[in-house]
């Protein structure tokens, strides 16, 4: 039996790619069981069961799990945790919210943002906005909760045989003190920022919400996801779910094109694992050029349409 349990992230219909990435990061610990909390998790469970390296998939269907609130899911994790020595989640806002609540109910330590699982007691993780990497040894605990830094791992692929799906019930008292009201999501046809192979991102240099059309146009020509710096988000040029960086999303696309972004350390933290960074900035001294694989000094409003025309599909 697996001794590692991974809590799936999903939207009720589909497994989020963060789950498959976290699964890859857990591979050094052997087979992993995946648990799906949902109202009706059949489709999500089938996706999870198809991934290589999965022992079994635990399907916990309940109307209580329709919004996967941390206060509701954490007691269920605690109730089912006994056979497992590692309980993991992706280090997305879903996992960051839930994992510490589960860890505290279990009275155990949590290792956040694991970038390498050496074994079940030893992990490597970033601190100080990724400027220092440390080794964390948790031998003093017989169980540990992890959040897995998804940008550090490729998504696991399908295995040869599907893992068994086991309908599971948990016996936990669930609180009603926390209620879901609504989710305002930007409807977008573009690839999801956290899973996109290519990402085009704009910063304060874009100058306005209207001007951000330049970023969206280029992204659409390249089939890319869209990102932004915090300065662009704070200025209201674009929605905050586009923020990349220490306090936004940590991403690892094959190609990242930054336009009008200076390259503050908190931004770079979010793109360190990108395959190729391309920077467009009119200031040749901009720190983004210290990390960019390919830089062009120039005006983004001039260059973005020309890059789109030259690379567009």
């Amino acid at each position: 039996m697996s001794t590692t349990l991974l809590v799936a992230e999903h939207d009720g219909a589909q497994l989020n790619q963060s789950t498959a990435r976290a699964l890859t990061g857990l591979a050094p610990l052997g087979d992993v069981d995946i648990i799906v909390f949902a109202e009706n998790g059949s489709a999500v469970c089938a996706e999870a069961a198809a991934l290589a390296g999965v022992g079994q998939v635990l399907q916990v269907d309940s109307p209580d799990n329709s919004h996967q609130l941390a206060a509701v899911v954490a007691p269920q994790i605690a109730a089912i945790a006994a056979p497992y020595s590692v309980i993991a989640m992706p280090s997305t806002t879903f996992g960051k919210d839930l994992a510490p609540r589960a860890a505290a109910l279990l009275g155990v330590h949590q290792v956040s943002d694991v970038m390498e699982a050496i074994d079940a007691k030893n992990f490597r993780r970033p601190i100080y906005a990724g400027n220092v990497i440390v080794h964390e040894n948790v031998e003093a605990f017989d169980k540990v909760v992890l959040t897995m830094r998804t940008a550090s791992f490729q998504a696991a692929v399908a295995g040869s045989d599907a893992a068994p799906i086991v309908p599971t019930e948990t016996t936990a008292d669930l609180p009603d003190h926390t209620r879901f009201v609504k989710l305002e999501a930007q409807a977008s046809e573009r690839p999801d920022l956290q899973g996109a192979a290519w990402v085009v991102a704009g910063g304060r240099g874009v100058g306005s919400e209207e001007n951000f059309a330049v970023i969206y146009d280029l992204a659409d020509k390249l089939g890319a996801g869209c990102g932004a710096s915090r300065a662009a988000v704070d200025a209201g040029y674009c929605p905050n779910d586009m923020q990349v960086g220490q306090t936004g999303k940590i991403i690892a696309p094959d190609v990242y094109i930054a336009l009008g972004i200076s390259g503050a350390i908190q931004h770079i933290t979010g793109i360190k694992d990108a395959g190729t960074i391309i920077a467009v900035n009119k200031d040749e001294e901009a720190p983004i050029f210290d990390v960019a694989d390919i830089g062009i000094v120039g005006d983004l409003f001039d260059l973005a349409p020309r890059i789109g025309a030259a690379l567009g599909k």
Partner: protein, 248 residues
Amino acid sequence: MKIIACVKRVIDYNVRVQINRDGDGVVTDGVKMSMNPFDEIAVEEGLRLKEKGVATELIAVSIGGSESQQQLRTALAMGADRAILVENDAPLIPLGAAHILLRIIEKEQPGLVILGKQAIDDDRNQTGQMLAALWGRPQATFASALEINGEKASVTREIDAGMETIEVDLPAVVTTDLRLNEPRFVKMPDIMKAKRKTLDVIAAASLDLPSIPNVVTSNFSPPPTREAGIKVESVEQLVDVMKTRGLI
């Protein structure tokens, strides 16, 4: 209603952090220390709730060495009514911090506890959620808007999928995201006034805490660095380089 805002002393966010010679920590000697930026937002939010008449008292609480009094004085200068330092020099994991904060809560009985969503030193993002779990109360993490309506709070959360709104019963724990508010600047006369406000110092050892094992953090090392690449002069040249690198 009383509000507790939690405050951590950290290396200032503008400092370029250096690993020490033994590789078992970072250099703190002579380095500028500040209040964790997310905690400043927590204090500010508490002040705004007081100014709106929702809260009657704002208490700033920190855990740390006696130097953490500086950050509590900053919170007092911003407008907090009083402060509590739980003095602790031993290494502390978030689970331990949450147990300490729980003791303070049991004594003070606040209606709301506000913390930064993460401290920018160890970047763990755990203490608020752990505190909520131990306290058996709701958590609303990564808040970008907060409204108190009687015995309930409506909180907008910044999550990967967009903006989520949840409703929680009070008392509750809220953790702040950067866009919740912009903290006020502290004025000179307020710094003077803050010196006269109450700052209680309690020894962690006096709190009857459960024993919590520690984790060993070692091998502090720099991340793999990205080398500066090349600069190209034109879009045509960009395309050529991308072709040779197999990107297109």
